[in-house]
């Protein structure tokens, strides 16, 4: 799981039986108390609700929904919770509702009534690519297994001053061995910060920050039977690669590491003129060994969403 905190936004991505939405109340309380930011809706009919600039909440459908806790067992309960908290939210079920690999999205209308100064320019280039992969090739998945022993608290305290941090060291080695640090051609030589962790007995998470402000993050659950990997990025590929790479190449690089049987790609951007959006729209033969099954486009207020699902041939 990962959390990214920028000055003006957060991105929280958590797997397993985490209770992601239960942080909202405390988060907004702290933001109000510590930063003095008043995010409460102004209209009477929305009393008690919040209306920040924008909220996205999404997830692929769970493999074991009944093992989730509380509201996270059902999408409809999550939406009910979000709607009590935020105003002007809409929810979507994206993909084939009769299959167990669809994707869910909740998004609020952009708050255009905030007291924002005139010199506050928006970044129209904002884009996010996500690749959600299931049924990983087992040889590929095994690269994310780790043989180190879990220590007791006493053992870890004894070792604290003498040993290296094995989880982070193994994570670093996995990143290198799988070339996940080379997803982007860093032709511009922008700064590169990496943090990875190898879970025991298996599993892997990594956060990579490029050019101080863009991230890509990977999470891998390699167990046979419910293997899964995700890649999410807001790195502007054309910028860091000096126009030498595109998102099709990024997708192919990631797929070569995991070789999933099934995957869905979601891409958010502000404009349909976005080069990546246009290229991804036309994608077919550029993803070798995979057949496109679904392609869905949504026009969401001031964002565009492209959803594509592929199956391995």
């Amino acid at each position: 799981s990962s959390l990214f905190v920028c000055d003006h936004k957060i991105t929280l991505k958590t797997c397993g039986t985490t209770t992601t939405l239960f942080c909202l109340e405390e988060l907004f309380r702290i933001v109000e108390e510590e930063l003095g930011w008043d995010m409460r809706a102004k209209k009477e009919e929305n009393v008690g609700k919040y209306h920040p600039h924008k909220v996205f909440y999404s997830r692929r459908c769970f493999m074991f929904p009944l093992k989730q806790r509380s509201i996270h067992k059902r999408w409809s309960d999550e939406i009910e919770y979000l709607n009590k908290f935020f105003c002007y939210g809409s929810s979507y079920l994206v993909g084939r509702s009769d299959q167990s690999n669809h994707w869910n999205l909740y998004v609020t209308e952009t708050n255009k009534n905030m007291n924002i100064t005139d010199d506050c320019g928006e970044d129209d280039e904002d884009e996010t690519l996500e690749i959600l992969m299931t049924e990983l090739d087992q040889t590929c998945a095994q690269q994310f297994s780790c043989k180190r022993e879990v220590k007791t608290v006493e053992q870890s305290q004894q070792d604290e001053n003498t040993s290296e941090d094995e989880g982070h060291l193994s994570g670093y080695k996995m990143t290198n061995a799988t070339r996940l640090d080379r997803v982007y051609n860093n032709e511009k030589n922008v700064s590169f910060h990496h943090d990875a962790f190898a879970f025991t007995p298996c599993g892997y998470s990594s956060n990579i920050i490029m050019d101080e402000e863009y991230y890509y993050t990977l999470h891998v659950t390699p167990e046979k039977g419910w293997s899964y990997a995700s890649f999410e990025s807001n790195v502007p590929v054309r910028h860091v690669s000096n126009n030498k790479q595109d998102n099709i190449s990024v997708i192919n690089h990631v797929l070569s590491v995991f070789q999933p049987r099934d995957l869905c790609i979601t891409f958010f951007c502000k404009s349909m003129d976005n080069e990546s959006f246009k290229k991804l729209m036309k994608t077919s033969g550029e993803i070798p060994n995979y057949t496109k099954k679904d392609r869905i486009i949504y026009d969401l207020d001031d964002y565009h969403l492209l959803y594509i699902r592929f199956e391995r041939n």
């Binding site: 799981s1 990962s2 959390l3 905190v5 000055d7 003006h8 936004k9 991105t11 797997c15 397993g16 209770t19 939405l21 239960f22 942080c23 988060l27 702290i30 933001v31 930063l35 003095g36 920040p52 924008k54 996205f56 909440y57 997830r59 493999m63 093992k67 989730q68 905030m114 924002i116 100064t117 506050c120 220590k151 053992q155 870890s156 604290e160 989880g167 982070h168 060291l169 990143t175 290198n176 080379r182 590169f192 910060h193 990496h194 943090d195 962790f197 025991t200 007995p201 298996c202 599993g203 990594s206 956060n207 920050i209 101080e212 402000e213 991230y215 167990e223 419910w226 899964y228 990997a229």
Partner: protein
Amino acid sequence: TVTIQELTNHSYIDHELSATLDSTEAFEGPEKLLEIWFFPHRHCIPKDENGDMKTLRSIAVEKWVAILKLVKCEVLSIKSTEKMDAFLLSE
């Protein structure tokens, strides 16, 4: 690409959690993804009466730890750059 120095420049690391974390019972990979834009851009954040600008990154790590506790996540490590703090979490 990754260099060995990357292992040593964390702004926070929980070695005890790192050594004792057992993920044997992990079973659900698909994540819940929550993104909240409080303001459209950093430049839009209002300044206080002293002309200072407090941002989400002004919130202390301990407060984020408390927020993440509600999510059932613990902080394994943090990397900080000029414009972003990246938390690597348990689960």
